[in-house]
Symmetry: C2
């Protein structure tokens, strides 16, 4: 295989947007522009779909100043796609890379995107085309293997923690049952992040249900009742992907219509799970004030809730990808490894170790009861949330003796 | 009537919590504590319910430092209630005030709460009991008459604007139809605030539906189709309280079960409206990617999204209430009046002018098409959102000529 020609570099963004995905984009673009080998940095519109359609922007013509402002803007600045390329699709990608003499391909995305990079990398090798292909990690689900955590997750986790901190205060003021449904099809990390909104011992969420443990309706109802009996209120965090003992998603079980995306995944959005759980509690337990929210797109796209640690790391994985590509000798995926409390380092990991694999929450992060997290999880997550986390304070209520009711 | 004895002052919080309701509480408490006439400042737990149950905390025993921290914490620190007292209930309130020799009663809340203050005030007069009763405004709905705006609304509006700014970016990256359902039973102010998340001319929300205009399903579908045809994507803001031409709430029309609260109001929460509108678009227009979120409790309780202007004003209405009570000669409600761009002043307004009345959006704030806001509304709302609003930036995409597809 001849030497790689780095004069044209391509970067694209795939999958669900995150609060910091543009940090990775800008990290890759600015770092590429530092290398004299690189003449042009292209960006593909809407991920791999833009690649096969040859829809490229010349990011070499962007000002550094605007790139820095875009880096701080959430969601995918190049646009994204839900396409999950098969071999034929990847062959199309490869043809376009070849036609445009692209020597280096960076794809920012989750496990599906890393699989795309893996297939394109193989395709290039099979054709003897000198290509360097590097995957840059991103997913709010935090479900990439090898990585300690993935860029995008800390900011989404921060949103969830702050949302539950507020929901808990609201529920304290107007007691009842509150359910917050959080994104997470197979991995419960984001739902578990709700626990970081707790401060005082009786704070919610009092119950946390994640896909890693079977969701048993009877146990759920017993948990809610026990919490209501104890505190007169109950705040619940539930993953949209919770399943029963037979691995049937509760959302699918209760939903009337089932919608599937191009990956064959059932669409778990909408408020159905929240509303059905609400009805269940009202019917079976008789509590009147039961409220439920589905956090939906807010948790991944809300402008103005971001972890500075996440921003920094998302920027660095973009930069490191370029360094590994140009100074290194192999394709791969940039992975994040924790080295201290709190520090990280980056490595280039073979694509096969991450591609199309899903990581779920380890047992040590889940309480034996199955509906709470451990201190090990808090220790894991807290530094990722970054600086300036809001804090909640309470009145220390000194009771005044009753007069009419005659109590002391 | 004898002279008012200010030695015991009572403050309570009613209705839905807001991001800044504790600023008003702390403003009233700290200002009361400055007056040498005041010996004890009581707080009632859970609003008027705590009053009738004689559940009081002695806030004179709170440290100033902790009060300041509580002021910055969202939701009602004393707890709240949905009780809407009738005459009998108000007589109970009055009996307790009398028994505890309370000379001054401050109630922080919306139009229902101001009506409670009005009835209690009349009851005291009828009994010749020297009481000073002052209502302190609060509501995210912004629906109090006389006021330019109400504390709590600016912070909730900021959340909605930021949420739509993010949803718009997400929808740009992964095009389709996005619906965000916003709180607002009769007044569309909070839903209209979504317009403040727009920056570029093609930004969403592209369509805004508020209760002040009839929601006609056919027009809605035509609006969505026209936007999709024009931009290939569509972001929609809808008030939970939108009604058809016969004033039937669309949520009630489409919902299977109807839940009413103690005020006889239909509960509009849950994801039903969002999901039903989603189904409508899919069925009638055939668009596949239609997503909807109900912002629910996040918009009023999210920790970490607050307007500094709102904080300041909420604090001041609490302080002014005490000054009007002690230095003034009548009961009333503190009202906010705009005096410049941007400055406000406060007045004590007769309770009858605000109590149990509802203000909706004036025509000058609504576009003639009925599904957008005017610049007059933007001019009205922008200063309320406060400093440090996040801003979104875009790449200026310089297209690269196609090679395989042979286009220039």
């Amino acid at each position: 295989m001849s030497k790689i020609d780095f004069s044209k570099v391509l970067v694209a963004q795939g999958g669900g947007p995150t609060a910091v995905i543009n940090q990775s984009l800008v990290g890759a673009v600015l770092e590429s522009r530092k290398f004299r080998e690189v003449e042009r940095v292209y960006g593909a519109f809407h991920g791999v779909r833009g690649v096969v359609n040859e829809e490229f922007a010349d990011l070499t013509q962007e000002t550094t100043h605007n790139l820095e402002l875009v880096a701080g803007t959430p969601s995918s600045a190049l646009g994204s796609t839900r396409d999950k390329p098969d071999l034929k699709y990847c062959q199309e990608i490869f043809k376009v890379l070849q036609a445009h003499k692209i020597g280096c391909f960076f794809y920012i995305g989750g496990n599906d995107s890393s699989d795309t990079v893996r297939i394109v990398s193989q395709e290039a090798k099979a054709h003897g085309y000198p290509l360097r292909a590097v995957h840059i990690p991103k997913t709010i689900d935090n479900d990439l293997t090898v990585n300690d955590h993935t860029p995008g997750f800390p900011s989404a986790a921060r949103f969830v923690a702050q949302a539950f901190a507020g929901a808990n205060l609201d529920n304290w003021a107007l007691p009842g049952v509150y359910i917050g449904v959080v994104m997470g099809r197979h991995a419960g990390f984001l739902t578990a992040a709700s626990a970081l909104g707790k401060k005082f011992p009786d704070d919610g969420p009092h119950l946390i249900y994640i896909p890693e443990r079977p969701f048993v309706v009877e146990k759920f109802l017993a948990d809610v009742k026990a919490t209501m009996d104890r505190l007169g209120r109950c705040v619940i965090a539930v993953s949209e992907g919770v399943c029963d003992e037979n691995h049937t998603p509760i959302a699918e079980k209760l939903a009337k219509q089932v919608e599937r995306d191009d990956h064959g995944n059932v669409h778990l959005g909408g408020g159905a799970l929240a509303d059905n759980l609400t009805d269940l509690i009202k019917e079976k337990l008789g509590f009147k004030r039961v409220r439920a929210d589905t956090f939906g797109y807010l948790q991944r796209s809300f402008v103005g809730c971001v972890s500075d640690v996440d921003q920094r790391e998302a920027r660095e994985v973009g930069e490191k990808a370029v360094q590994y590509a140009i100074w290194g000798d192999r394709d791969g995926t940039v992975t994040i490894h924790r080295t201290g409390f709190y520090s990280v380092d980056y490595r280039l990991t073979p694509l096969e170790e991450v591609a199309a694999k899903t990581r779920t929450m380890p047992d040590e992060f889940i309480s034996p009861c199955g509906s709470d997290v451990t201190d090990a999880f808090r220790y894991y997550l807290r530094p990722l949330l970054g600086s300036g986390m809001p804090d909640a304070y309470r009145l220390r209520l000194a009771r005044v003796p009753k007069i009419l009711k005659g109590q002391g």
